[in-house]
Each structure stands twice: as structure tokens, then as C-alpha cells.
Symmetry: C2
Subunit: 362 residues, 2 copies
Amino acid sequence: MMIDHPLPPGSTIGILGGGQLGRMTSVAASRLGLKTHIYNDTPDAPAFDVAAAATVGAYDDLDAIARFAEQVDVVTCEFENVPAAALEAAGRSACVFPPVKSFEVAQDRLTEKDFVSGLGIAVAPYAAVATLADLKGAILRVPPPALLKTRRFGYDGKGQASIHTLCEAESAWEIIGEAPAILEGMVAFEREVSVIAVRGQDGTMRFYDVVENVHRGGILDTSTVPANMAPRLAGEAQAIAGRIAEALGHVGVLTVEMFQTGGASPSLAVNEIAPRVHNSGHWTQDACLISQFENHVRAICGWPLGDVARHSDAVMTNLIGDDAGEWRQNAAEAGTALHLYGKAEARPGRKMGHITRISPKS
Amino acid sequence: MMIDHPLPPGSTIGILGGGQLGRMTSVAASRLGLKTHIYNDTPDAPAFDVAAAATVGAYDDLDAIARFAEQVDVVTCEFENVPAAALEAAGRSACVFPPVKSFEVAQDRLTEKDFVSGLGIAVAPYAAVATLADLKGAILRVPPPALLKTRRFGYDGKGQASIHTLCEAESAWEIIGEAPAILEGMVAFEREVSVIAVRGQDGTMRFYDVVENVHRGGILDTSTVPANMAPRLAGEAQAIAGRIAEALGHVGVLTVEMFQTGGASPSLAVNEIAPRVHNSGHWTQDACLISQFENHVRAICGWPLGDVARHSDAVMTNLIGDDAGEWRQNAAEAGTALHLYGKAEARPGRKMGHITRISPKS
């Protein structure tokens, strides 16, 4: 179902998922005079604090999701692992953006790799793993060091096991719960980068500047923009994101994570795609006039896309778990914007907020 | 009542008034992990869409205000004309910032002029008017052209009448409803400017860059930063705002509007003060890392003040009444941020939103 005309100010966006991404999307929607209605499976959702309406319900409660969709003008999601049946239930009474195809591809690491490599875009070496015997065969084709990852429902390093020798196959298979998986060759990369792209309902696309990411313990630690990368290669990274968004018929923000390899003759391989606003795009709130959140809202509502130009350089640092206890110091720092997500409990590994340090554009 | 320690993330700010200023303050609070509870006298408040809690009640319903204050950790106001009794009722169970003194001074044009000129700061010539006979006498001391303004409850050009000759005294007195008033000499100014200052609970002060304002029909039309003003004079403007904030013992954002007069030997005269975030500071959302709204929140919560540095030049234009119908075109403009306040009805003279056009810092 497509929207023919832009949703006018005063319309309501339904968001499945009430975490920090939903929260910041809701705030971005308010700037355009749009309301949000948040659907979340627990009552303590950070996004509830900044939404016009809230529904608590399970993501597999299709009746509740259908009722929710009836009350809004368009539905979007803050996370990619929303069940297909939920998207379908929502889609019966509201437009859903991004389209189902983007979720289908992004929810399954094997489908994703097949899809991206099917477009002639490089990915890390990989092999499908359905059984322990498969895994042993895969290790011969994708030699260690390699990562065994569940096909579905992995994020922030969860559902993964590293394999350095063939004899680790059984323990890795156990660690990931013997679920359908892929074995991915570990790429000796110079840097990890991501492209935050946005595609409108009319196919218009825009790309934020390429950002360089550093992970720590499987979780994003810092995002730095501009990436330390030649302009030609950065342009290639954006073109890759564009080809994927186009092939998906995507609408909204699409994030493509890539590895830069090859030393003096650099090349790019796609690591992962996310059909949504992304942690590595949070810097756009502070270093661009129009953030990834607002551009996602504009795209799904059929509005003209906003300017993606960057007015400042930026380094975004995640506040994980106890990091958020430093808020007084962070708040006092010059050139620094502090963002806290309103989560009560600072559990280890939990994303509590982020800080963005900006400096004049290089 | 002072806050000894900063209010921690998760605390709730109560805001009296749910218009666009409350709405944008609520959004700014959310960035710091703070919640808001909005109190408004009608149920259609723009700020309700982005608040964790909402109360509909009259501003003179002291019981309702007291109950509201019991549920929050600090109380602030989005408008200066909140009744003194309401501030007092709120203050019995919560800290109220800015302090009562700032409201007392800003609510009454005569008190305000006396206060500012008592600090040795220049203001336009003025005289108190309690009766028609007073007015006739005042016109002799403050010769026309002059403005007759009610002492209380005037804004955006309401409660005002211009006087060009003595014989207009009676009609002007009628226009303003024969209310206690002041007669103000019209100043032949080169430009109108304002200073957005913020003062913390510990007395720390910060000043945004001086902004140049153009009014149309008594309502702010554009704010441009930087003001076309010599750095020395801009520094003087900030110093004046600082002296007023200090003398009030103000906490939060304080806006001081001034006239620049004197041609080649320029000088400044204070026109008006507002103990709150201000329309002429909306550009800070798009051209500064930390907006006036966030700095107000930081001040009233006892947090360190945020960086007021400007990363871009900016021109803010208000969208009044039907102007907001151009939202599609505004949204499509490069270098432009569109802000809509979520008001359903575009009445003439009603502030519906604003746009900020930014450009590289000059």
C-alpha cells in the first residue's frame, strides 16, 4: 500500500518498538507537527515519555497490533526483528514502511548475504549451516578464523561464536543453540564504516557522509565522521548503499555496514544491513541540520527528504551500562551534547545514552 | 527553595503552560533523560503530544496546581503571566524556577522599567498612567510618537495603542481598556536585538550570540544571527542581560530585548525582558549544539550549563497563521529546518511554526 500524498501535519505515526530509536524518532516527528503512537511489549518503554499515545502489547498479539494500526496513519518499526505476521496484521489497516521485503532480507543473515552478493556487491566469505555436519564442511570452505552466527535474531554480538580451529566446531554449535546459522570468514579489515541512506516513496535517495565505527565487545563504541577514507571510496560506499536500497524498494532510512580491506588498493565488503535508523547515525542529530530520525519520518510520510549536509565533524560515543553514571561530567564538557534514553536500570551492555562531540568541519 | 544537588536523570519537570515553548522544552528535557508533566488550561495543548504526563486545569485552580506540583521534582513556566498565587501554590511542594522575583518584574511593564532603569541601564522614555488625566500629563513629558501599553498581560502587540498627537489620548485610553498603563516613547532605532542568557543555580551565566529581530504587525517575523553589530556593542548587550539576570537572582533562560540607537555613536536601551525561553532564541535549536530549551532545563535542574557556541549562521522566520500552509515547500528547501507546533487551527496571527535557514559561520 503506497501513500499518494504526503501525510499532513497532525497525522499520527505508529511505531512498533519503544526503545531509544523509537524515542528519538518520536521527538523528530514532533518537530514536523506529527504525532506518534508507540507500541511496545513492556510498559517501561523510553519512547512512551515523548509520545502522544502508547499501547502495551506483545509483538505476536495480532489483534492488538491490528487495533493499533487502525488508530494511526502509517506504521514503522524501530527494530528489524518484528515478526512477519505482525507486519502483515498492521498492513491490513495502515501503510507499513519500510516495506516487508526490507525486513525479510535483513531478518535472516543468509538471505541478506545472498541478496547483497546477488547484486554483485562484495560480502565476507560465508556458508550456510543447518547442522553440525554442515558446520564442519563449512569450516573447510570458509577457513578460520570465522564467526558462526545464527541466521535470525542476533544483535550486538549475541547469537555468535568465534571459531579458530576445526575442533571448536561443536562448542560453537552449542553456544549458538544449534540454530540455523551461517559461518562468516573474519575479515582482516582496516576499518569498519557505515552509510546511513534514506530513500523516499518516489525513489529519491540521499546519503549522509560515511561514518567510521569502532566496536568494543561486539557493541558499537564510537562513530567518527568524516571517516578516514578517500573521497572516491566514500562515494563507492554510498553507491553500494544506494544499490541495495533501490533493489529492496526500500522506503525510510537504511543503514549499510561495511568493511574496508585491501590496504593500498582498498575495497569494500558489506557486513550487515539494517532497515532502520541506526546507532552509527546518532551523530546526525548534532552535526547535521536534519537528523536520520527526521529523514526516516519524512520518507515514511511521503514528505520531501531533508538536507543531509554535515555542518560539523563529530565523534559519537555510546554510554553503555555504568558509563551513564558519568552524566554530570559529560554534561559539563564543552562542544559535547549528552543524550540519555530515560532507562531506569543501567545493566551491563545496555545502551543508556550517547555523547556527541562536535568540532568545526574539516 | 533551592535544589542542592542536580536532579538526576529520570526526574520529572512540571511545566505550567503547554504551548510551543513547553513542547520544545519537553523535547529538550527528553534528550537528557528527564521526563515532563505539562499543566495547561485547555486539552489541546501542543506540548501534551511529547510529555510523559498531562494535567488539564485552570491557572487559578490552586488545588489542581498544588496536586500537580506534588507529582513533579521542579516546576517551571513557559509564559510570564502565570498568576502569583499559582506560583505560590506550586512552590509549597516543589522548587519553582525561575524565582518569583523574575515573574513579578516581568509581569508589569512599569515595575520592569523601574527595575531596569534602577540598575542604571537605559530604557525608552516612559511615564506611569493610571487615569486619563495621567495620560494627558504623560504625553507632555513623553512626547509623541509614543505607545500606550497596559502594565500587565500584553504580548505580541496586544494591549497597545499608538499616540501621535495629544488628541488621540482618549481613543488610546479606550483601546487599552482603561487599564493601568505606561506611556512609552517610540524609539527611533537602527535595529532591535535580543540576548538569550541563561543563569544556573550557582550563579554561572552564559550568553548566546546577539540576535537581530524584525517585527511585522507587532509580531516577531525574523531573527538573524549574528546581528549586524560591532563586537564591542554586542558584548555590551550581553553584559546588560547579565546585570539584569544577576539582579533578579534569575535561574533559567532570561531574554532581554533591546533597541540599538544613536547612529554612528551607537547605544542600547532595554525594551522588554522575558523570564523564559523566547521566540528570538529558536535559532539555537539548529545553529548551536545546545539549544535555549536544553539550557533552561539544565539551569532549573541544577545541571552544568551547556555550550552556547554557535556552529552556523542562522535566520529564523516565524510561520504565522496561513504561512504554515507552505510546509511542503519549506520542507523541500536545502539548508532549512522546518518546525511545526502541532496546532490544528491556523488562525490569523497565531504562531504555527518556524523555519531556520543555516549557512556556514561567517
